[in-house]
């Protein structure tokens, strides 16, 4: 077709090389520009977060770093003793108890639903999946109203810790179910088949092979649900009543950390407002360490299997 002279082809090669080096320079420039833009974006995203954390520490550290914060009951400051705010031991205990009861109910049911929706392809499972997906996105105040209507009014238990647990539990339930379903679905099908091929029943396979293999995902999901629930204000606000006393009992009026923030923050005493910051910081620290332990645990579990 076309015959090129040697001179000519040499010329073309030269030209191509020049073009290539120009292209590389342009690409390098674009690459650096994009990386710079990424850093700007990260900075913009981190700025408000950093601001929150700095504020939490500067306003809340003095409360969190004092032993009284954990050991004492709250006190009412007066004009004579404006700094006598006491501690939040009742709220820490209240939050722990509310969360404990909530987990007692929500963990088995949520994980059960998750395993079921992942392992079954029945119509009921599909419906359940839809309900779970809807509930995950439901505003938390709805769970509070539900708990109020059912536990406080209909069951006649009045304002109490149990009602708070019920509200928080129903809030965690769909999160647990959804994360369990994902974790179970991620278990390779070959493991399931291996179990069945050994003559195991489907339920045995689900409980003894699939569930253990999915455990890291399920625990991560549980930690996520706890982290969300611990700072949840709206549902507990409606149903626990509030209390200045230290109690573990499910039927008593209760106090919770976020509820306490709400009360402290509207106080006219600066020391109480500082305590609100302290509680907020405390919650952030607890959630941070929860997430951290979940991470470390999941990583070690992964390594063990490799």
């Amino acid at each position: 077709m076309t015959t090129l002279h040697i001179d000519n082809s040499h010329h073309i090669r030269e030209h191509l090389r020049e073009r290539a080096s120009a292209t590389i320079k342009r690409r390098q420039f674009v690459s650096r520009l994009m990386i710079a833009l990424c850093w700007v974006a990260i900075g913009l995203a981190a700025l408000p977060l950093g601001d929150v954390i700095i504020n939490l520490f500067s306003h809340g550290w003095s409360s969190v770093s004092s032993w009284a914060f954990y050991s004492q009951l709250p006190a009412q400051p007066t004009l004579v003793t404006p700094d006598a705010v006491g501690g939040v031991s009742n709220a820490i205990a209240g939050s722990a108890v509310i969360l404990g009861y909530a987990l007692l109910g929500a963990l088995p049911i949520g994980i059960g639903i998750g395993v079921y929706t992942a392992e079954s392809d029945s119509r009921f499972a599909a419906t359940l999946r839809l309900v779970v997906a809807t509930m995950v996105g439901a505003p938390s105040i709805l769970m509070g109203l539900f708990a109020f209507g059912l536990v406080v009014v209909q069951l006649g238990m009045g304002f109490c810790i149990m009602a708070g647990s019920f509200a928080i539990g129903t809030m965690m339930l769909p999160v647990l179910a959804a994360s369990t379903e994902i974790a179970v679905r991620n278990v390779p099908a070959t493991l399931r088949e291996a179990g069945l091929a050994l003559g195991a029943k489907k339920s045995t396979t689900s409980l003894r092979i699939v569930l253990p293999a999915a455990i890291t995902g399920i625990v991560s999901g549980a930690i996520l649900a706890i982290s969300r629930a611990i700072g949840e204000t709206a549902p507990v606000l409606l149903v626990i009543g509030g209390s200045q006393a230290f109690t573990w009992k499910a039927g008593d009026f209760g106090e919770a950390l976020p509820f306490m923030i709400y009360q402290d923050a509207s106080s006219s005493y600066p020391a109480q407002r500082a305590q609100a910051w302290g509680i907020a910081l405390f919650i952030v620290i607890v959630v941070f360490f929860l997430s951290l332990t979940a991470r470390i645990w999941a990583n070690s579990k992964q390594k063990e299997r490799r």
């Binding site: 070959t190 493991l191 291996a194 050994l198």
Partner: protein
Amino acid sequence: MSNQDATVNDISMAQVAESASFANAPVAMSLRNVSVAFNGRTAVRDVSFDVPQNAVTALIGPSGSGKTTLLRALNRLHDLTKGAVVTGDVKLGDIDVYGGTIPTTVLRSRIGMVFQRPNPFPTMSLYDNVVSGLRFNGVKKKSILDDACEQALTAAAIWDEVKDRLKAHGSTLSGGQQQRLCIARALAVEPEVLLMDEPTSALDPISTASIEELIGQIKNRVTIVIVTHNMQQAARVSDQTAFLLMAEDRAGVQIEVGPTSKIFNDPDDSRTLDYIRGRFG
């Protein structure tokens, strides 16, 4: 082309020599007009042959010819797939596999399976892996489990390598060892038939050789049906070979079944010869 012919012939001469010994063996499983369809689309059609006892039957054929689909019909593993329908007769001895007279769990403990990729249970120790089938079926006594574990691992030729670390996880083993562990796990429930779905396709040549050797050893205690892509492997390990091919409508059909020596040296069907000689597939 002539080179390829020579290789194939070398294999078939040397390694298929003694494969007609099953001729008078009792039938472990029989297939009659077995078809498998997914959502109305036929994937395997009208397969009929007998699986001789204590022999190795190889299912060969190009991709899409339905080898694995057919294999999974034998232990009812398609039951899990929505829209899968198996028709025809599959028999384990006198028992109708799809007849409903035998619970699927019992059936599957009598027809074991080894998969393409080694799949030890990741959360279990080596010991727990091997005895898991027994535990799932309700065996609890430690002495029985201990014996079964040692026996199965010995049968799978891996006992010496792992006996000092039975508490370790399966993932600490090499791929070939993992596959032998899975074979031990399948053998521990003492199945009559062992289905192997391309058991060496994820392994290196040395591990493959050790698994093939193992197959030769364990056929004394279990009947084997093996799916393989590798014709040399079929020639090396099997006594009987079934050759499947994809028909016009993309369903897998049986072209020829016979003693491996016959299939590899003197097949009746020209398509078998073409496949053996590497003209397609």
